[in-house]
């Protein structure tokens, strides 16, 4: 248990540290904060997707646990992995239908909570 906590900390910290470096890079290049954030997310997602495609990300996950699953690269992994898996069942019923089997709940409940949070904010602070 302790070992898993430590490895998750190291991996998660490393990925987010890398994210910070990329964000700073984009800021230095003249993007404002909002644009830089989007660009950084895109880079990390690309990295996660690429490493999943190369068959490397699952090995990282075995070592790092949540440290690899929680950052946005893990989210990318959770979509690319099923897409690769179900390629054999065709592009529509395989990839298309089943790409979000793992990420689906994240999207559904993420949206639900955001709507609820917005409703609470509206109730407390008005439009």
């Amino acid at each position: 248990m302790l070992r898993n906590v430590v490895t998750a900390f190291i991996a998660g910290g490393a990925i987010t540290g890398l994210g910070q470096m990329i964000l700073t890079f984009f800021r230095v290049r003249g993007l404002d904060l909002r644009e830089a954030t989007g660009a950084t997310a895109a880079v990390i997602i690309l990295a996660g997707a690429l490493l999943t495609g190369l068959g490397v990300y699952d090995r990282l996950g075995r070592w790092a646990g949540m440290g690899a699953s929680l950052p946005i690269s893990g989210f990318a992994n959770s979509i690319v992995a099923p897409a690769m898996e179900y390629k054999r069942e065709g592009m529509v019923l395989g990839v298309g239908a089943r790409m979000f089997t793992v990420a689906g709940p994240v999207i559904v409940y993420g949206l639900v909570i955001s709507v609820l949070a917005a409703a609470v904010r509206y109730a407390l602070r008005g439009p």
């Binding site: 075995r62 992995a81 690769m84 898996e85």
Partner: protein, 378 residues
């Protein structure tokens, strides 16, 4: 009228623990013709090749995809090749085989069905989860002992990746496995069963490469009942299956009215590091000390360094260990009497999501070394 009375008497006598006809005790079948195991074959993937059974396997594939387009096709091909190899070793052409009893872990047992399509043998598909091997051997032995088949093959397969994508997660997903989880074996095993009373000649069109009577015999089968002890964790199947294994072993020994030391080895299918001690403890609670003779196939497929959690699982766990290793021990007389007990966890992704328990089942097959029966004066 008389037939009805006879049937009732047989039933009552069976329950009393005596022998009437083919049944002994409550749940055991004794095969009076003692069918022979003419040959076995075992094939495995790269990890299995790196394990302790490595050089004993007939074929080790370097690629778990076998160059096929999907893992399911690879698994099907492994089963085909195991059956063909076993038939060949027994001096049979595949066309000589009267019956194929086969099963696997996939939905609708497609690996077995599509293997049977290729093999062209009358096919009885079974589902027993990881207990499929002994279930298949039991059914095949019944058919041969009863004269309903002259030559039958019992075969099973499993594949780590087909099991992962069906029961758990896509294979490229980053997940951590808990230490109680097991590793599904990628492999297939086949057992050729022929009539016990034909002087060793399998009657096939090929050339048998072995001594006439130097083949082990199947003496008994005890089919298990489903045992549910309320286990729900699909990452700890050893605990779910252990009660079923203990139940079947206890019943088998009681029916034969013998103790554990009647056997040189009681070998369960895939209880592994978590389930084996539980099964042994449950048997000890009933006064059966199996510590000297009991072992598990799940502990014999991989080296600890291969990082397989609690051990091996899958239909091929018992198939590879039995077909590649223990059958040889029986054949060469290192083991006199074996009780092989493959164990299965009866769950599906649906049942697990609906919060159902995971019941277990175990079927026991008793086998003996060639000539052992004669020595013990039977």
């Amino acid at each position: 009228m008389q037939e009805g009375t006879q049937a009732t008497t047989t039933l009552a006598a069976g329950r009393a623990g005596t022998r009437t006809g083919p049944r002994i005790g409550q749940r055991t079948i004794a095969f009076s013709s003692r069918p022979r195991i003419a040959a076995t074959a075992a094939v495995g993937g790269p990890m299995e090749g790196d394990g302790p059974l490595g050089r004993l396997l007939d074929v080790v594939y370097q690629d778990s995809l076998l160059g096929e387009k999907s893992w399911e096709l690879a698994e099907t091909r492994m089963l085909c090749e195991a059956v063909e190899l076993a038939a060949d070793k027994a001096g049979l052409a595949v066309g000589d085989v009267d019956m194929l009893v086969a099963g696997d872990l996939l939905n609708e047992i497609i690996a077995s069905s599509f293997a049977a399509r290729h093999l062209d043998i009358p096919f009885l598909g079974i589902f027993g989860a990881c207990s499929a091997l002994t279930e298949a051997i039991g059914i095949a032995a019944m058919a041969v002992d009863g004269g309903y088949a002259r030559r039958a093959i019992a075969a099973v397969c499993s594949h780590h990746d087909t099991a992962e994508r069906q029961y758990r997660y896509p294979t490229e997903l980053a997940v951590q496995r808990p230490p109680t989880a097991q590793w599904t074996v990628t492999g297939a095993g086949a057992v050729v069963i022929t009539a016990g009373d034909n002087d060793g000649d399998t009657g096939g069109s090929g050339e048998y490469r072995g001594d006439d009577d130097a083949r082990p015999r199947i003496t008994h089968a005890t089919f298990g009942r489903v045992v549910d002890m309320g286990i729900k964790n699909p990452f700890d199947l050893g605990s779910a299956m252990a009660p079923a294994a203990a139940d079947t072993i206890r019943r088998h020994l009681a029916d034969l009215q013998v103790g554990p030391d009647h056997y040189d080895l009681i070998l369960t299918g895939d209880l592994s590091r978590v389930g084996l001690p539980i099964a042994m403890e449950l048997l000890a609670e009933d006064g059966l000390d199996v510590s000297g003779v009991m072992d598990d196939c799940g502990l014999r497929v991989y080296h600890p360094e291969q990082e397989v959690g609690a051990g091996a699982s899958g239909c091929a766990s018992s198939a590879l260990v039995f077909a590649a290793q223990v059958f040889r021990d029986l054949q060469e007389g290192r083991i006199g009497r074996l009780l092989l007990v493959s164990t299965g966890a009866l769950l599906s992704k649906t049942s697990a999501h609906q919060g159902e328990n995971i019941p277990g089942i175990a079927h026991a097959i008793a086998m003996e070394a060639p000539g052992a029966g004669k020595e013990r004066g039977r």
